[in-house]
Symmetry: C2
Subunit: 337 residues, 2 copies
C-alpha cells in the first residue's frame, strides 16, 4: 500500500526507498536512462558516452573518524561514476548552509573536499551556495553531482550480471555505518571505528585494465548494504546470486557492535567498498589487480551467479544452512548517510 506521507525509511535505501522511486517518481519522470536505475546515468551523445550522477549528503555528525561530510560527498559521487566504469571529468558541489554555521567548520569541509578530489584526480568545476534560517538544515547539507566519460568498450550495468559470473568484494563490510553510529555518541560504547570512505575510481580502472574491460556489473554497497545491492542486481539482471558467509569479512569490532545492538552487517552502509561481477575466466586476473591497489588489499571472491532462483540472493551460512537475503525494508538503523 502506498503511504500518504514521507517516512524516514523512504530515505534508507531499502525496499521503501525503492517503492518511493517506482511508485511516486518514475510515473512522472520515467525514461529509458533514468529507468535503468544504475548508480550513474549514461547518456550517449556525439561520439562519447557521458556518465552523470547526483547524491545529497545529510550525514550526522558532519565530522567522524575516517572522514567528514565533505570527503563523503566527493567519494560518493566519484564512486557512482566509477560503478559504470566512467572516468570522472568534473564534480559539482551545492551547499545548503544554516545561518550561523562556523566559517572555520566550512573551511575544514572544503579542505576535505579538496583532498578527496585530489585523491580521485578530479576537479570541482561548478558549485552553488544557499543559506537557510538557523535550524533548517542540520548545519550543512551538500549535494554533489559528477560527470564522467565511459571509455570505449566498457559496458557495465546492474542489469548485466550473468550466470557463471563470480562476485568479488574489496574488503570487510560495515565500517562506515558503525563508525558513524559510534561517532554520534548515542550508545555508551568505547572504541573508534573508522569510516571506509574512499574514492574507488583508481581501483575500478585497474580492474578494467586487468580484464580488457570485461566486468559485467559493479555497485557500491552504500545505503541498504551488501544484501540490498546484491538483491538489486539479482533483480535487474534476472539471475540468482549465491554468496558464502565464510568469505564475507566483517571486522571484529564491527561484529561486536552488531551483536550488542542487534544489527545485521549485511545491511550496513559502506563508502569505500564495491561489489564486482566478472566472468569466471577473468576473475583471478581481476582479483590480483585489486590486491595490488591499496583499497583492494583485502579483496575476495564471495560468491557466484546462477541461472536458477532468479531475483533471489542466497547466503550459505557457516553452519551449512541457507538464508534468503531480502532487501532492507524501511529502516534497520538510524539514518546515517
Amino acid at each position: 500500500m502506498k503511504e500518504d506521507k514521507i517516512l524516514l525509511g523512504h530515505g534508507a535505501g531499502g525496499k521503501l526507498s525503492c517503492d518511493l522511486v517506482k511508485e511516486v517518481f518514475l510515473p512522472f519522470l520515467d525514461n529509458e536512462i533514468l529507468g535503468s536505475l544504475d548508480d550513474s546515468a549514461v547518456i550517449r551523445t556525439e561520439g562519447s558516452k557521458v556518465a552523470f550522477t547526483t547524491d545529497s549528503y545529510v550525514v550526522k555528525p558532519l565530522f567522524f573518524p575516517g572522514g567528514d561530510i565533505g570527503r563523503l560527498s566527493i567519494c560518493g559521487t566519484v564512486n557512482d561514476l566509477a560503478m559504470v566504469g566512467a572516468r570522472p571529468v568534473g564534480i559539482s558541489t551545492s551547499f545548503i548552509l544554516e545561518e550561523g554555521f562556523a566559517i572555520e567548520d566550512l573551511e575544514t569541509v572544503l579542505s576535505s573536499i579538496d583532498k578527496a578530489s585530489l585523491e580521485a584526480g578530479v576537479n570541482v568545476v561548478a558549485g552553488d551556495t544557499k543559506v537557510v534560517e538557523h535550524g533548517a538544515a542540520q548545519g550543512l547539507f551538500i549535494t554533489t553531482s559528477g560527470v564522467g566519460i565511459v571509455p570505449g568498450g566498457v559496458d557495465i550495468s546492474g542489469s548485466h550480471a550473468m550466470p557463471g559470473d563470480v562476485v568479488i568484494i574489496n574488503g570487510p563490510i560495515g565500517d562506515h555505518e558503525i563508525g558513524i553510529l559510534l561517532a554520534r555518541g548515542e550508545f555508551s560504547l568505547k572504541g573508534e571505528i573508522k569510516s571506509d570512505c574512499a574514492p574507488l575510481n583508481g581501483l575500478v580502472h585497474a580492474m578494467l585494465d586487468a580484464c580488457n574491460n570485461g566486468i559485467h556489473a559493479l555497485r557500491d554497497p552504500t545505503r541498504g548494504g551488501l544484501a540490498t545491492v546484491l538483491w538489486e542486481i539479482a533483480n535487474a539482471s534476472g539471475v540468482g546470486i549465491i554468496v558464502d558467509e565464510e568469505r564475507i569479512r566483517v571486522r571484529e569490532e564491527v561484529r561486536g557492535v552488531c551483536d550488542l545492538l542487534g544489527f545485521d552487517p549485511y545491511y550496513l552502509a559502506n563508502e569505500g567498498k564495491l561489489v564486482a561481477f566478472a566472468p569466471q575466466d577473468k576473475a583471478e586476473g581481476v582479483l590480483e589487480a585489486m590486491k595490488r591497489d591499496p583499497l583492494g588489499r583485502e579483496s575476495a571472491i564471495i560468491g557466484n551467479v546462477v541461472d536458477k532462483n532468479q531475483g533471489k540472493v542466497i547466503l550459505k551460512t557457516r553452519i551449512k544452512g541457507h538464508r534468503l537475503l531480502e532487501p532492507l525494508s524501511g529502516e534497520q538503523f538510524p539514518r546515517i548517510c
Copy 2:
C-alpha cells in the same frame, strides 16, 4: 573583513555571496574551470565541450503563482546551461525531504518537473532522495544539476563582453521575486503577480541561429538581479556598461510593490529573463529572432558596452542623471530563491 559565521546574506547572490566564494571556497577548490564563475562549467573532453551546472532550491513557499519549487529547479538549471549556449542533454534532481511531507505535494512537484522538462526538451536522467527529521528541511529542498553539449562555434562567457556590444533583455524585470514575496502573505497587499519562471534554452538557440553564434555573453539575472549580473559581466570582461532606465521595463504592479516597500527593481530576482551581449551589427537580427519567441516578445535593447569606466555599470536615469549600479551587498530582501 571576513565573517566567522554564515549570514543569510551569504546566500543572497550579491557582494557577500561573491566574497564567500572568493575568500572561502576558491582558496580550497580553485581551478581554471571553476574560477571562470560562469553559469555553467565548460569541460573540454574528447571532441566535445560538455557544460555542467548545479543549483540548490530552497524557495519558500514551495508553491506560488506561476510555478513551484519543481518548475523552478528545472528552469534554473536549464537556463544556466543555456547561458553558455549549451543544449541540455540530461538533468539530475536530488530531493531532501522532511519526514511527514505529503506524498500528494511531492506528486504535484514531480508533475511540474515533468512538465518543465518537456517544455525544455530534456529528461531527468539521474536522481537521489534523502529523508531528514521533521523540521530539518523546510519541507523540501531540491538540488538539480544539468549536463549539456556546447555546439561547435559557440563561445559564450561572462568574460567575453566587448566594447561596441549592445545589451539586450527579453522583458520586464522583477516578476519572480515580487511574486514570491506576495505569495508568502507577509505583507497585507492584494493582487497576484506571477513568477516569470521559464526555460530559456529555446530562446537562446533561436538567438544563436539568428547571428551565426555571434553572442558574446549571456547571463540570467536571478539572485542579485539585473544590477548584480551587469556588474559581474563588467568586471569579468573588464569593460564599462551603460544602461538606460527608460528602456528597462518594470511592470506597473511590480513597481507599485517596490514603491510601497522600498525595494529597488534592479536587484530583484528573475527566473525567465536573460541579458545578452551581442555586437552592434548583429543586434537587430538577434532582437527580431527574440521577438518571434513567446518568451522574447517584450525584448529590448537596454544599453551598450564601452571601453571606459571598466568594471562599472552606469544607469542613465529618466531625469538625464547618472547612477552607479553597485552589486547587491548582503540582503536587500527576504531570501526567496
